[in-house]
Amino acid sequence: MLNFSVNLGSDADSSIVYDLIIIGGGPAGLTCGLYAARYKLRTLMIEKAPMTGGQLTTTEWVENYPGFPEPVLGAKLAKDMENQAKLFGLEIEYEDVLKVDLAPKIKELVTAENTWKARTILIATGSSPRRLGVPGEQEYSGKGVSYCATCDGPFYPDKTVAVIGGGNSAFEESLFIAKYAAKIHIIHMLDKFQADQILIDKVKANPKIELITNTVVTEFDFEKEPRKVLLKNNKTGESSELVVDGAFVFIGAIPNTKLFEGQLDLDDGYIVTDRDHSTSQDGVFAAGDVEAKVLRQVATAVGDGALAAYKIHKYLDNPELS
């Protein structure tokens, strides 16, 4: 079935001072946008991709977001969240923030096109796929090594692929790729998988998917056909090769916080927040995957976003008390 997605920026006004600017349009940002708009805060969201949704847009189905007993399409859930927030007045611009000045009372964000000003900032920039950092990965990124199943899964009809990782993403995306590929090898460095048990059961029941444990990838040897993933067993030290047509890497994420280095307290790259999502900088808040925390899910992101909006609303009412 064909679907059509409309994602174009609002005509936001860069000459005014917004009550709140949200950087990043994933579930945390969209929920904060919804709540803030309902508090009647003049709120602008700035998203660097040409659509909102963040990581929801790179996954096919979401099965663990409450309220949807039938799985919901990640892209649809994102679009619905956006539409709901826009209904209450959230403005969205699709620009890439290049520089931020978070210390002054009126904070400034510079994009290639505009300079935006706001009394408060919510950082909801999420995270990006972590790279393995082995030879061949960089050279063949987009040419056989992929980090997005919904983008590149269809390039492997009846082919063999390696999926690297042992968490929920690796397992969910393997099930998606299995719709196209003939054979999938999931390669994981530990002997136990971190994915939810329900996903492990599904993967084990899929005859197309093979699990390889205690094994790390040492190189993507993709220069000549047949392409090979070079492997090393952690326990025995033994090396081996796996002939594949392509590989997908899902080994966790790194926070998108480069912009904020030196201006906020970070922990291993993640933004340190307190329980109401305040950061080390007055008037600056954070929500979702970008925060230093233990669980990163759509369900936790929306909770973070709602609570942050509440706190921002209180802060704007009376900055001295917050």
Binding site: V6, N7, G53, T150
Partner: protein, 215 residues
């Protein structure tokens, strides 16, 4: 049955209300053996209802060789986005999924003349003397793809030397082989130079510079 649902039509109408000048959508299609030709035609028919400044012109690929040549069309379905002149903005394959926004963006670009190119980028493009053809290969489910398409189309709009195509690769499987596309977006410059991912403007300009230097 309608191809665009009520909500999408409403959003589209809202997005296009900023149109200023007339935009002509020139569609190339044929009755037989073309995947998504019928759907692309229907999509454009429905799109017409959202704004009076939109016009549709339909050509049959196999019969209308004069138009095929004039617009430089080599596969179908194809859409040329025409403003007061031909800026070299093309869509090959159906602009569905996330690419629907690329289509609306191209219409608005041509209609309003508003783009988001940087001063440095424009300066570089002003210095171009040889033709540059960009093909951006995409999938409708790829969230990174419209960024690459929109940038290429803006460059084509700005520079008379640049033409830019969106190519929805699932409609043209043979091109997967020809241009060794294994991930999207992939931008091919003058048939020979490749760029992976939704690269920022400066990186695209650098690639074009390389393509010119080594041509």
């Amino acid at each position: 049955m309608a191809i665009l649902d009520e909500n999408v039509l409403k959003d589209t109408e809202k997005a296009l209300q900023n149109m200023v000048k007339e935009v002509r959508l020139v569609l190339f299609t044929q009755e037989m053996e073309c995947s998504y030709c019928k759907e692309t035609h229907q999509l454009l028919e429905e799109l017409l209802s959202t704004n009076k400044l939109l016009k549709l012109e339909v050509h049959k690929f196999e019969k209308d060789s004069k138009a095929v040549k004039q617009y430089g069309i080599d596969k179908i379905p194809a859409i040329a986005i025409m403003g007061e002149k031909d800026h070299g903005i093309r869509f090959y394959g159906i602009p569905a999924g996330y690419e629907f926004s690329s289509l609306l963006a191209a219409i608005l670009l041509v209609s309003t003349g508003k783009h988001k190119l940087t001063k440095e980028g424009m300066k570089f493009m002003d210095s171009l003397t040889k033709p540059i053809h960009m093909q951006v290969f995409v999938m409708p489910t790829c969230p990174y793809c419209p960024k690459a398409v929109m940038l290429a189309h803006q460059m084509a709009y700005y520079s008379d030397k640049i033409t830019a195509d969106m190519v929805e690769i699932s409609g043209f499987p043979h091109l997967t082989q020809k241009y060794s596309v294994q991930g999207v977006p992939r931008t091919v410059i003058n048939e020979k130079w490749y760029l992976e991912g939704a690269a920022p403007e400066a990186m695209v300009m650098k690639k074009i510079e390389e393509a010119i230097k080594h041509a």
